[in-house]
């Protein structure tokens, strides 16, 4: 076998050969660029750090709300007085397991808290179970106990909500539950805002005025033995609520569960048939539509009208048959009001009431707001609505409507939150110019003339004007004997600043109360009639007498 292998050798050719780089890069320039880049990076890092330092303040604020989950912002009145304050309190507890020398600890504790029961504390120490030694400790004692340096002493920081005005603003402020969640009033409607911000919430209410108004309501609650009462004082030009009291009320510090319906916020949640206070709206609507003027005469007015099964009659049988529009309002004529309503017809009266915010649910700062009971308009309904029967609304909406009618016809929204409000002249006009100038003097005459029904509120110096409303309370299928007596007032009528609503829920006559006449000399003992003129008007008069000097001198409108 010839296993011959042929080996072929090939010459290895090394292809490597040094060549000059063909790129056009300039090494010298690249170095400079690199240094420049490094410096740029450094300067960017510095800039980022500077920006970071600049934004630290904002981050701290954010951190604050996340750390203090139980924190809620304070609430102040218009003068900066605390209505609600969140205060820190420290509870001191002892963990017996960590106590090194029980005897020494007890001696030290006795020096700081000499009044405590140390037999009980000794027993607790022996149980080896954590216990609270002192809740809401004073700052002095806290310093002393922490200086002991005992590891077994534990401090727990807690936040407590304090209401220094107790009952005064119970319905406005509302309550919070154990989970720090608002369950009523502003605590509920501003729940998130109060939790997120550190800035206090400033309200439009005035503590002094609120106190004086509440004091009068409490006093007259015992005189007229009413089921409850409410009063609202509001600036007619910007809707700021200076006072809003609903009685009975409750102490917010007690944190009681309120289940009794009598404790509802009558000012905003109570929906009532308010009676003759609505006649002002009927007249204003007639003037707005140009269908009547204040001196328009209505002749041969009947004393009684039949509408379907029900009859409409005058409260005062001595009322003349021929009356001008002004006299209808002053003497609170039912039939005259029906005639004006009939001139207006359903569409126009309904549109006017809607415009001044009577018919629909009001959008307000607190959620406890009542909804006027809807009804079907018809001929008889038009007649009853014209003099304020068969139609319901809340006292807050009544205040708003009177404010609009008296302030020149400008739209306002009642508010509890203090803000920079514009002058109404710059805002939306919803009622023609000149209507207020015609209505306000009539409201004044209701107070300062003998024919008027609100003479008891004629307090010298305030130019009070207003309208009374006495209505029977509705029950299923009709009316009860219980009444709702209302006074809707404005003052001073020459240039209205305030609207005051006083409503007494189911008042009774008083045989002992002595009335001081305002439009004539003398006094009268006992309530002759259970009407607004003898009940809520008297309350309104006493309120204005007391709050008037404060309103006049404190320049509260600022």
């Amino acid at each position: 076998m010839n296993n011959k292998k042929n080996i072929i050798l090939e010459e290895y050719e090394n292809e490597f050969s040094y060549k000059k780089s063909k790129t056009n890069l300039d090494i010298q320039f690249n170095r400079i660029a690199f240094i420049f880049f490094v410096f740029l990076v450094i300067s960017v890092i510095y800039s980022i750090q500077l920006l970071h330092l600049g934004s630290l303040k904002e981050e701290n604020t954010k951190e604050f709300s996340t750390i203090n989950k139980n924190y809620r912002a304070d609430i102040l009145d218009r003068n900066g007085n605390y209505l609600v304050k969140t205060v820190k309190s420290i509870d001191i507890g002892i963990n017996p397991i960590e106590v090194i020398d029980k005897k020494k600890l007890l001696i030290n504790l006795q020096l700081i808290f000499p009044d405590k029961n140390y037999e009980e504390i000794t027993k607790k120490l022996e149980k080896n179970k954590f216990f609270y030694l002192e809740k809401k400790i004073s700052s002095d004692n806290y310093e002393k106990i922490m200086l002991l340096g005992d590891k077994s002493i534990k401090s727990e920081e807690k936040l407590t909500r304090i209401y220094p005005q107790k009952n005064l603003f119970s319905h406005i402020i509302g309550q919070i539950d154990d989970d720090n969640k608002g369950i009523s009033g502003l605590e509920k409607s501003f729940n998130e805002k109060l939790k997120q911000t550190n800035e206090p919430l400033k309200l439009t209410v005035d503590t002094d005025i609120q106190f004086l108004i509440r004091e009068e309501l409490v006093k007259f609650q015992s005189i007229f033995r009413s089921k409850g009462s409410t009063a609202i004082l509001m600036n007619v030009n910007n809707g700021e609520i200076i006072s809003m009291v609903s009685y009975p009320d409750f102490d917010l510090n007690k944190r009681e569960k309120i289940v009794d319906l009598n404790f509802i916020n009558r000012a905003t949640k109570g929906v009532y048939e308010l009676g003759s206070v609505f006649k002002t709206f009927t007249v204003a609507a007639g003037l707005e539509e140009g269908l009547i003027d204040t001196d328009t005469e209505f002749l041969n007015l009947e004393k009684k009208l039949q509408c379907g099964k029900s009859s409409i009659s005058e409260y005062d049988n001595k009322i003349p048959s021929d009356l001008t529009v002004e006299q209808i309002l002053i003497r609170s004529g039912n039939i005259g009001s029906v005639r004006i309503g009939q001139k207006l017809e359903i569409i126009k009266l309904k549109a006017f009431l809607e415009k001044i915010g009577i018919l629909s649910k009001i959008n307000f700062d607190i959620e406890e707001v009542g909804e006027p009971i809807p009804f079907k308009w018809g001929k008889c309904k038009l007649a009853t609505v014209s003099f304020g029967h068969g139609i319901t609304t809340t006292p807050l909406q009544l205040a708003k409507a009177y404010a609009i009618i008296s302030n020149g016809g400008f739209a306002i929204e009642p508010s509890l939150i203090k803000k920079e409000l514009k002058d109404p002249e710059k805002e939306r006009r919803i009622i023609k110019a000149g209507i207020s100038e015609k209505i306000n003097p009539i409201l004044r005459k209701i107070v300062n003339t003998k024919e008027g029904t609100a003479g008891l509120v004629n307090i010298e110096g305030y130019e009070v004007g207003g309208k009374t409303g006495t209505a029977q309370k509705t029950i299923v299928g009709g009316y009860s004997k219980a009444k709702v007596n209302t006074f809707a007032g404005i003052f001073p009528t020459s240039k209205p600043k305030y609207v005051l609503i006083v409503l007494l829920d189911e008042p009774k006559t008083s045989s002992d109360y002595v009335y001081e006449y305002k439009n004539k000399k003398g006094s009268y003992k006992g309530t002759p009639f259970n009407t607004a003129g003898w009940t809520s008007v008297e309350v309104a008069g006493k309120i204005i007498e007391k709050i008037g000097p404060i309103l006049a001198t404190k320049h509260i409108e600022n």
Binding site: P164, P549, A552
Partner: protein, 102 residues
């Protein structure tokens, strides 16, 4: 030109560092002042709360009945006077005109 740009950048960074150092000192001072203000602010709030409680209308009425024999009197607006300063003279006027605006 390139050297000049580099020099400018270097100077700028140097100045930034110097400013940063000096502002850090100020920041520290601000921080200390803020930390000192914080407890004072808290103390002020507590004192204000106490003042609001003790000077609340309810408390004032309570003190009045407790310490004074005379009752509080109602001020009539017609008796309130207004002091108007006219250059060097003081003029006292009724707050509400006796004749009224009606």
């Amino acid at each position: 030109m390139k050297q000049l740009v580099v020099a400018v950048i270097f100077v700028l960074i140097l100045i930034t560092s110097l400013i940063k150092t000096s502002t850090k000192e100020i920041e520290d001072q601000i921080f200390i002042v803020k930390e000192n203000i914080r407890p004072l602010k808290s103390e002020l709030e507590d004192v204000l709360l106490e003042f609001n409680y003790l000077s609340s209308p309810e408390k004032l009425v309570q003190y009045q009945t407790q310490y004074f024999e005379k009752d509080l009197i109602k001020i009539e607006i017609m008796n309130i006077k207004e002091i108007i300063k006219n250059n060097e003279t003081l003029e006292i006027k009724d707050l509400i005109s006796k004749s009224g605006n009606e």
